[in-house]
């Protein structure tokens, strides 16, 4: 036996000992499973394997989806569905009761419409901003011949942080005593309480979101860029195509399907903005400047003095429909991108 393989048996043997150890543990499960197999026959075993998963999906997803729709047509503050009176379309009417949809203060539930407006602007700015930064960063990284792995890791790192951590880190950074104000004082002799001013706080919410999630989308775009075959560019080079034209006529069209998918994904995520914005702005402040739809649903359903489960569910259903449209269009785009 040659030198390189002589180490292997030790490793193999150890791996097998671990396997045997787990095996002993698994005997406890195995014996009943073997009995099940004897009782049901081996053709029915796949159902046994998929059962726990389906059960959990049913209990925690399928049943709630049905219930969400049922809740939306009921009123009162009882949580249990059978204690709740049927109110028909009342919840939807209440939510949609508005003088002008462009002016939240004319609506019966102006908080809902404020949230819709905030979410709309957030979605627009966040999608465009993230797309821009992710695309440029991906192009930059794709171009780097050295250090690409390092920078890719750096830009991706925030994606793995928790929304609470991100919210707190930035809240501290932007705080009255924070680093940014330290610089402002040094250079401009002024301090801004960023998170207590409507305009600033909204801008920072978008900025922090971009900071938080950009790495994820960058990675997807980068994967798309790297999937473009090199020789296309070589052929273009030989044809004397200018760099600018190469970008517009080769890179962008070839990347377009990828970008479309990323855009829809971004839209879907943006509509559901909640966690990091909630932590960053201490619950959607100042006032309701950063209150988004999910926060509206959460508060309407769970704040002790509201408990309007029906209204919250109606809002959920409306948001669910919007998301469904977006998701279906994503699937459609993904399919088209494959062809």
């Amino acid at each position: 036996m040659s030198a390189p393989t002589s180490v292997a048996p030790v490793v193999v043997a150890r791996g097998e000992r671990i396997g045997d150890g787990l095996d002993a543990v698994m005997r406890i499960v195995e014996v009943p499973m073997a009995t099940v197999q004897r009782l049901l026959g081996h053709a029915r075993m796949p159902y046994v394997f998929i059962l726990p998963n389906m059960l959990l999906f049913t209990v925690f997803v399928f049943v709630p989806v049905g219930l969400a729709i049922a809740y939306a047509f009921t009123g009162g503050t009882n949580l249990l569905i059978w204690d709740r009176p049927f109110v028909g379309l009342e919840n939807f009417k209440a939510l949609l009761d508005c003088g002008s949809y462009l002016e939240p203060s004319t609506c019966r539930y102006n908080l809902f419409w404020t949230a819709v407006h905030n979410t709309w602007w957030y979605t627009l700015l966040n999608t465009l901003g993230t797309l821009f930064f992710a695309l440029v960063t991906a192009l930059v990284l794709n171009r780097l011949t050295r250090g690409r792995g390092f920078f890719r890791a750096v830009f991706f790192y925030p994606v793995l942080l928790s929304p609470v951590v991100v919210g707190l880190i930035w809240q501290w950074f932007l705080a009255r005593e924070g680093l940014l104000n330290g610089f402002l004082t040094d250079w401009f002799d002024t301090r801004i309480i960023f998170l207590l001013e409507v305009g600033w706080s909204r801008a920072w919410v978008v900025y922090v979101s971009i900071w938080f999630h950009m790495g994820f989308f960058m990675l997807i775009i980068l994967a798309g860029l790297q999937a473009i075959p090199r020789d296309i560019y070589e052929a273009a080079e030989i044809d004397g195509t200018s760099q600018w034209r190469q970008f517009w006529c080769l890179t962008l069209p070839l990347l377009l399907p990828n970008l479309l998918v990323v855009t829809v994904l971004l839209l879907i995520r943006s509509v559901q903005v909640f966690d990091e914005a909630w932590v960053l702005t201490n619950g959607g402040g100042p006032g309701t400047a950063n209150t988004f739809i999910v926060q509206f649903i959460y508060q309407t359903a769970f704040s002790p003095d509201l408990r309007l489960y029906g209204l919250a569910s109606a809002a959920s259903v409306l948001m669910g429909i919007a998301l469904l449209v977006l998701t279906l269009s994503q699937l459609w785009l993904a399919k088209k991108a494959e062809v």
């Binding site: 036996m1 393989t5 292997a8 048996p9 193999v12 097998e16 396997g19």
Partner: protein, 368 residues
């Protein structure tokens, strides 16, 4: 030692039937080869025997016990896969012992069997290696070893040699034959290589399109093919076929007329033809001889198109008249001929095979 009997076995995938009623009896301790062209259903049939593939209709019995609904484990079969299917994450030793552990066999007995099998197959040197660290031939032997340790009632092989190079294939062929002599276990061996089947098996089953064409001892199939399909499939290179007509029948044989071979008398009785019937005449390349036709024997002339000399033997390919198919003549030793030159050939009519031009059935009293 187990005898297997299959009665009118059928297999359908949805509405598509791929095995159309098969009857085979495998004697206890027999080595049977299943041969046939690609897609004829060999693997499917083998998997039905193994219990991996449910049987749609018909009956399968092991020693008179119906096993249709038994799992592979309950049938106590062992199988060697074409891809070997060694567990890549287990050492060779573990590969061999896994099946025995599943049976909750005593550790000492497992080790005893594994060591014995390893010694027998000369793989005891790498029991602690992973399959990845083995050569193709070694993997092949591990796969066989995994079957042996189980001491199964039946061994099933699905084209086990097709991933080996030519030399190793010949060597492993004889090893498997030896193994069979040693173990005396019933073995069923699937191959599309007729040389393998001819050299290893005691009995060959020729399958075509999900049906049995012929079952018999290797030499029987060669000498008395039941039909055109078997005649064409068994023997390499293939049999030469010529259209002909029955001129007359008599007590000493049948006189045939062929545009390519002239008029000659095929001796024998019980040849199932009438005067005036269209037949197909089959002649093995080894039964043709170069040289002018002697009176009473048949013969023809061909234009040489290709000569393949292996040194100890030569195949001459030539065109006879306007025939589409080339005539192949086997010449012992080295032989040279100019392309385009004309050669006469002759043969002993006693070796001629006759087939019906209607259904391809052998007319010369072949056993079926």
């Amino acid at each position: 030692m187990t005898a297997i009997s299959m009665k009118d076995l059928r297999k359908s995938y949805g509405s598509l039937e791929v095995i159309h009623g098969i009857d085979i009896d495998v004697g206890s301790g027999e080595f049977v080869a299943l041969v046939g062209p690609s897609g004829c259903g060999k693997s499917t049939l083998l998997r039905m025997i193994s219990g991996l593939e449910p049987i749609s209709a018909g009956q399968m019995s092991f020693d008179d016990q119906r096993v249709n609904d038994l799992s592979p484990a309950q049938r106590q079969i062992a199988m060697v896969f074409q891809s070997y299917a060694l567990y890549p994450h287990m050492s060779v030793r573990k590969n061999l012992s896994f099946g025995l552990e599943n049976l909750r066999m005593d550790r000492a007995e497992i080790n005893r069997r594994v060591d014995a099998a390893a010694k027998m197959l000369a793989i005891d040197g790498y029991l602690d290696r992973r399959p990845k660290a083995l050569s193709g031939g070694q993997r092949q032997r591990v796969a066989i070893g995994r079957a042996i340790v189980r001491q199964p009632r039946v061994f099933l092989f699905d084209e086990p040699l097709s991933n080996l190079d030519a030399k190793l294939r010949v060597q492993t062929r004889s090893e498997i034959t030896k193994l069979h002599k040693q173990l005396k276990t019933t073995m069923i061996y699937v191959t599309h290589d007729q040389v393998e089947a001819m050299t290893m098996a005691q009995k060959i089953v020729v399958l075509n399109k999900g049906k049995v064409e012929q079952i018999g001892r290797p030499l029987d199939l060669f000498e008395r093919p039941a039909n055109l399909f078997v005649a064409g499939f068994i023997g390499s290179p293939r049999m030469n076929l010529y259209p002909g007509k029955v001129a007359s029948t008599g007590s000493d044989g049948v006189t045939l007329d062929s545009a390519y071979l002239g008029r000659f008398l095929v001796p024998g009785t019980g040849i199932d033809v009438q005067s005036g019937d269209d037949v197909i005449i089959g002649l093995r390349p080894s039964h043709l001889k170069l040289g002018p036709a002697t009176p009473g024997a048949g013969g023809g002339t061909m234009t040489v198109e290709q000569v393949e000399s292996m040194g100890h033997e030569t195949f001459v390919y030539g065109r006879t008249g306007q025939s589409d198919e080339l005539t192949i003549v086997h010449v012992p030793g080295h032989f040279e001929a100019e392309t385009g030159s004309s050669l006469d050939f002759t043969f002993n009519p006693a070796f001629a095979h006759l087939f019906s031009s209607v259904d391809g059935r052998s007319l010369k009293g072949a056993r079926m």
